[in-house]
Symmetry: C2
Amino acid sequence: MNQEFLEFVSIQLMKGSKTSLYVQLYDSLCELIISGKLSYGYLLPPVRKLAVFLAVNPGTVVNAYKLLEQNGYIFSRAGSGSYVAEIPAKGDTEYQPAAEIELEPLPPVTVHPGKNCLDFATVMPPPDLLPIDDFKNLLIEVLDRDQGKAFSYQDSQGFEPLRQAISTYLKEQGIKAQANNVQIISGAQQGIDIVAKAVLNYGDYVFTENPTYPGAIAAFRSRGAKIVEINMESDGINIQELEVKIRSFRPKLIYVMANIQNPTGYSYSLGKRNRLIGLARRYNALILEDDYISELDVSDAPLAPLKALDRDQRVIYLKSFSKIFMPGLRLAFLLMPPSMVTKVLASKHNSDISTSGLTQRAFDLYLRKGIWQRHIAAIRRIYLERYQTTLAAIEEYLPPAVTCHRPRGGLTCWLALPEGVSAQQVVQAAQQQGVLLTPGTAFFPRHAPDRFIRLSFAVVCSEEILQGVKILGDIISQYCLLNTEK
Amino acid sequence: MNQEFLEFVSIQLMKGSKTSLYVQLYDSLCELIISGKLSYGYLLPPVRKLAVFLAVNPGTVVNAYKLLEQNGYIFSRAGSGSYVAEIPAKGDTEYQPAAEIELEPLPPVTVHPGKNCLDFATVMPPPDLLPIDDFKNLLIEVLDRDQGKAFSYQDSQGFEPLRQAISTYLKEQGIKAQANNVQIISGAQQGIDIVAKAVLNYGDYVFTENPTYPGAIAAFRSRGAKIVEINMESDGINIQELEVKIRSFRPKLIYVMANIQNPTGYSYSLGKRNRLIGLARRYNALILEDDYISELDVSDAPLAPLKALDRDQRVIYLKSFSKIFMPGLRLAFLLMPPSMVTKVLASKHNSDISTSGLTQRAFDLYLRKGIWQRHIAAIRRIYLERYQTTLAAIEEYLPPAVTCHRPRGGLTCWLALPEGVSAQQVVQAAQQQGVLLTPGTAFFPRHAPDRFIRLSFAVVCSEEILQGVKILGDIISQYCLLNTEK
């Protein structure tokens, strides 16, 4: 027996079986890898040698290796061969070929929750907090000033005065920015989509936090990219896991929310920010930072975005103005490394030519006149109160076995239920009592644990918060009890 | 010598060469196909047999076949083997692997042509023809009526009353439509992009007219699809060519403009409409009909869209309201076969969640109050005059060797220059005399002939048309003369 192939003696291929030889070989190699017999970094034998050993033709081995690579079990280095990849927890490696993945709709946006519901699911501000009159006056001002130009095609990169106003605004937040590197887009979702188009080709790897925003997963999958998740911890992404996986998968892009992450509310420590950027530099990955909601950081020392630490132009910064302002307006921007500007512009152009010129012109005035800043200050006051009420209610009404990390702000809390209590069951039971919540499962790309709930205080007043969290607490307590009795 | 492999005796592969064996084999097979030695429909030998004959391993043949298929030279049928595909004119088959294609920006939109230019390049109406005051009043009406709701997230499929109003409008045009099958989108370019996302996977074939709208090419390429062009004739797509190619390539999608095509201005005959739909049915392809500008059909008997003939739900109808209305508003819709509704909705959601609710609500009133219909009628009167002036000026000032098919309307004419006269040179010379034109080369996905010019009368008055076409005529005459002297 050739010592070199000791690991492969268990492989038995059946010619004439219905399952083709290469799929049989693929399955056998998968087993060896998953069981740990071939461990991370193992150099697989050259195609020809393994083919001779198994008495199959080399094409069979080639195809099996290809499928392994496609599904994330191995990776190859030009000129040096194929290696076993780092394999996440069992089951997590079931990558489907992206072309066969159906596009998946995001969870529906709750536009009109029932009248008598306590709505802890919606994460946009209620219509009565939106600055309607201010914006109406600005629209009229723009139309009177610009006439037909407000309705003509807009430059695909965006209305230049607005890009100037944004770069001024960013400088106030500690981010160096030039109008040339700003791309106006129609909301944050489009930002993710056009960055995916500009950066990712079919089969490329992209890293996301786990859990993460499902709209990002959908955009990356639609692009045919392979998604590898890195677990979130309360001080940011798991850096050891990132380090091992980045070495194996060499992702083109890492998608993160460094401040008040969606859905966990976690924020990255300064140490983890620097490690993330350092690893991205070392393995030449781009970072897409989705600044989801940092205006609502109500802590004593609000954090600057990750982009503020980006010394070697590796972070694409994505910021939506619509999230806490006017979701239906569809307005956001990207601040890009200069090297990305042309690619992203082409991608925007191919997607929808340009964002509404009228909206851009009105929002430009909104920023320049300082009304945005005043609106944010007003909204912060309202949400600070709801945030404090929510945390106090959680403390008071939820069983101590429920854990909730205190976020720096934002619109949501992330609840971890005790072992053995099903989040989906709790959410359903709550809904029957008129309390709407979002089960955490929606936020995990794969193998979602059934123990998290996202609780949003975006559209509920203090009184409703107390009432709703109390109901939730009672439900969870009952399930805990049931659990103990079992 | 084995008679079976007679065609392959010329193949000589050099082991140890810098070029890998499979690429050498690919090149040799390409030559045989292009030279016609292996002709359309030829069944290639099984991998193993050819490998034995050439004394290479089967993996080499597998890889060469794969590359041939990827590049459109052969196609395979499950269980029956690989066949030589129909090969278009030499050179047209140089498909690049889509992943390596750079995203390409569209030709820049001319927003502010120089003051003293005669602008025959821009194809959107000038700002002073846009119905600003009407629309401003509607915006105010909507904001007063809907308050914050106008700025909340909009249903991803679109504002329901607007979808109702559109289906009513379509019924007036002879198209059966239900609001359920209407998807609101942010302009026609987005329609092409989201249909591409919903229908095409990496490596799928899509057919386009040749020449065609470059924005569509860019969207399909960005999706990783392979584009096969079908030549346009003055009464529509070349049906013989379509028939041969559809059999070989089995496209998922055929992108057409049946009425007043961009850039040629050609419209499909009734016979060709029916043949196109019949072939799509037979080979199970979807058709994306881009109704570019049929409101400006100024002929005595305006044509209904192709969609009106779609009895078996195979045509996706794309209509922009912004083209001759308000380009900067970014508003269009898709009327879909019911089976496509969910996929397209997911694709829209993943692209940008929804189109601006404010714009949709204002445009809804615009349609319901009949202002759109009045606007179209007014615009038609203006463009009928410019259309007639342009055709008369072409007749009078351009040398008879320039041919121009009389379009049924629209905003442009498509000029074919005499043999030997370079369109690019003429366009450059015209520009130096202050006349802006678009060379036809931008509209051909590959191997653009240098003899077409698109002349737009969208932003020039009658006087300017006469002046500009006269200058163009003089320039072309000079080039014709130079050409004769050579």
